[in-house]
């Protein structure tokens, strides 16, 4: 029984785990094959990468989309981390009855689906003349209740003595936050960074409503447009998908542990 378990369990785990990475592996392999090879079921790296890349460059301006995605995701991450961690710290360190009640009200915003606020927000940003700008991309998600909870949780473990000592040394409250809290809580920031960056990089619904021009398009939007053409060049499309996946895959590869602790961290009970 135990022997059977010792052999069977790893075998099942290995075979089923391969199913999970196969589509990703196949995407990278197919990015180097031409459509004829992909249709025939080629599973080895080929030589069509330059051709696919050439076709992709002819079809879409991928550099603009890459730049926009990178800029939007970076701004979203920096601003969201700053505003949300400031609030998380504030809700914990300066907490009183009123702020605790307010936090509970903010939690209610997590019940609101994105599609419900999409139309009023679209009208708002369009009346402000901000369509197709990074501001429209970033602003709706700039304060994240999820991140506020994550940082509030980490502020709970931030020693009160450090704050008291810093106050005695004459450091202002904002100074304590920037010079003490931020560096000490670096792991939390890394976790929050991976989640926020990946969400921003991958976001689709809201950008598809406000980022309408070719100049403001992002990678997921460009991908969605590639597929709607009549003739479908699988090699070229999968190369574009691979390019879009590469940055998040790298972040994931290096920061997988922080990513995992980040998604589970805010909801510790």
């Amino acid at each position: 029984m135990t022997k059977c378990k010792k052999v069977l369990l790893p075998l099942i785990m290995l075979l089923t785990s391969l199913l999970f990475i196969f589509p990703i592996f196949w995407m990278f392999v197919s990015a180097t094959n031409d459509t004829a090879g992909i249709v025939m079921g080629k599973l080895t790296f080929g030589t069509a990468l330059p051709t696919n890349f050439e076709n992709l460059m002819k079809a879409k301006n991928i550099w603009t989309a890459m730049f926009n995605s990178l800029r939007n995701a970076a701004l979203q991450t920096v601003l969201s981390l700053f505003i949300s961690s400031l609030a998380g710290y504030g809700f914990e360190v300066f907490h009183d009855r009123h702020k605790d009640a307010l936090m509970n009200v903010l939690l209610l915003s997590m019940l609101i689906p994105q599609i419900t606020t999409a139309i009023p927000l679209f009208k708002m940003f369009s009346s402000w003349g901000l369509l197709n700008t990074w501001i429209a991309f970033v602003l709706p998600g700039i304060a994240s209740v999820f991140l506020i909870m994550l940082f509030r949780q980490s502020a709970r473990s931030f020693p009160g003595e450090v704050i008291q000592a810093a106050r005695v040394d004459g450091l202002g409250e904002f100074g304590i936050f920037i010079r003490m809290f931020v560096p000490i809580m670096a792991p939390t920031y890394v976790a929050a960074l991976t989640i926020t960056f990946m969400n921003a990089w991958n976001s689709y619904l809201w950008p598809s409503i406000v980022m309408l021009s070719n100049e403001s398009t992002t990678m997921p939007l460009l991908l969605a447009n590639l597929m709607s053409g009549y003739t479908q060049d699988y090699g070229m499309i999968l190369l574009a998908v691979a390019i879009c996946t590469l940055p998040t895959l790298l972040i994931f590869a290096f920061l997988q542990k922080s990513f995992a602790s980040g998604i589970t961290g805010a909801v510790k009970m």
Partner: protein, 293 residues
């Protein structure tokens, strides 16, 4: 003096939370109130007129909306399958007999690194009539003609379900695995001494202790599945004949693809909000109640 210092600290606290609070009020709470206002109007662009609840009455008679609700009920089938798989994998990862669990963990978790648009396109090409799955079916002789997955209602729903399970199993596994690791081994030792079998330990110790996590994952998955959008747009484009059209996708089409009908689209989206709010609060209540027992 002391009072003013305390008061000053309190004020500083409000300044710390102010930017986030203001943004959430504008982007969420004010937006949802505006959404309700728009849902009571009809017309196009800036020529909106008040119509009362006529948009809501129209929902009841909308066959396409009924189709999307039916599709969403089908998508909900992924929840037990996906959470069951995640539970099994989490259990396996914490099995002492399994060597290098980290490797399997990364492999199963890896789909989370992909954008929903990206994996939608990958699955669309995998399951295309000239895609890899059909090539394999033909080559192995399992099905000489191949299957036109995106031509049939149930086969295309099936592809979406497979894609969803593929994408989210690892994500939920990570939550459950972390929760399992936080269970005190002494509890298992005590149960073993009391003569509990492996099965009993699992159903009487592990599962009850995982319940808060499972309730949370259920809430998140349920809400996410009802709001499904990216897969409906990019994997099947709602087809064939709306058989995979999700509610969010339909609302998007009404507002931004066909002649824009913000009033009706917003009324639909407001119904989605009410449903999600009720289901979430209900599940939280159920989660709380059993805690007291």
């Amino acid at each position: 003096m002391k009072l003013t210092y305390a008061k000053r600290l309190n004020l500083v606290g409000w300044l710390f939370i102010a930017p986030a609070v203001v943004m959430i009020f504008i982007m969420s709470f004010s937006a949802i109130i505006q959404a309700f206002g728009i849902s009571l109007q009809t017309g196009m662009g800036n020529n909106m007129k008040w119509t009362g609840f006529s948009n809501y009455l129209r929902i009841l008679k909308d066959p396409t909306f009924q189709t999307t609700v039916g599709n969403t009920l089908v998508y909900l089938l992924q929840i037990p399958v996906m959470l069951g798989l995640a539970l099994l994998y989490a259990q396996a990862l914490n099995n002492v007999h399994l060597r290098c669990p980290g490797l399997y963990r990364v492999m199963i978790f890896l789909p989370c690194a992909m954008a929903s648009v990206s994996y939608s396109l990958v699955f669309r090409i995998l399951f295309a009539s000239d895609g890899l799955i059909n090539t394999v079916l033909r080559f192995t002789g399992l099905n000489q003609n191949g299957i036109n997955f995106f031509g049939g209602a149930w086969t295309s729903r099936m592809v979406i379900l497979i894609a969803l399970v593929w994408r989210w199993t690892g994500y939920n596994m990570v939550f459950l695995s972390a929760a399992m690791q936080s269970i005190d081994p002494a509890i298992y030792e005590a149960a073993t001494i009391d003569g509990a079998s492996g099965f009993q330990r699992y159903f009487r110790v592990t599962l009850p202790l995982l319940r808060p996590t499972l309730v949370l994952l259920c809430i998140m998955t349920l809400s996410g599945t009802i709001q499904l959008f990216d897969e409906s747009v990019n994997l099947t484009n709602g087809g064939p004949a709306n058989a995979t059209l999700s509610i969010s996708h339909y609302i998007y089409n009404l507002a931004f693809k066909y002649t824009p009908n913000f009033g009706y689209a917003t009324a639909l989206s407001f119904v989605v909000f009410i449903v999600i709010a009720i289901l979430t609060l209900l599940q939280m209540k159920v989660g709380d109640k059993r805690d007291e027992m």
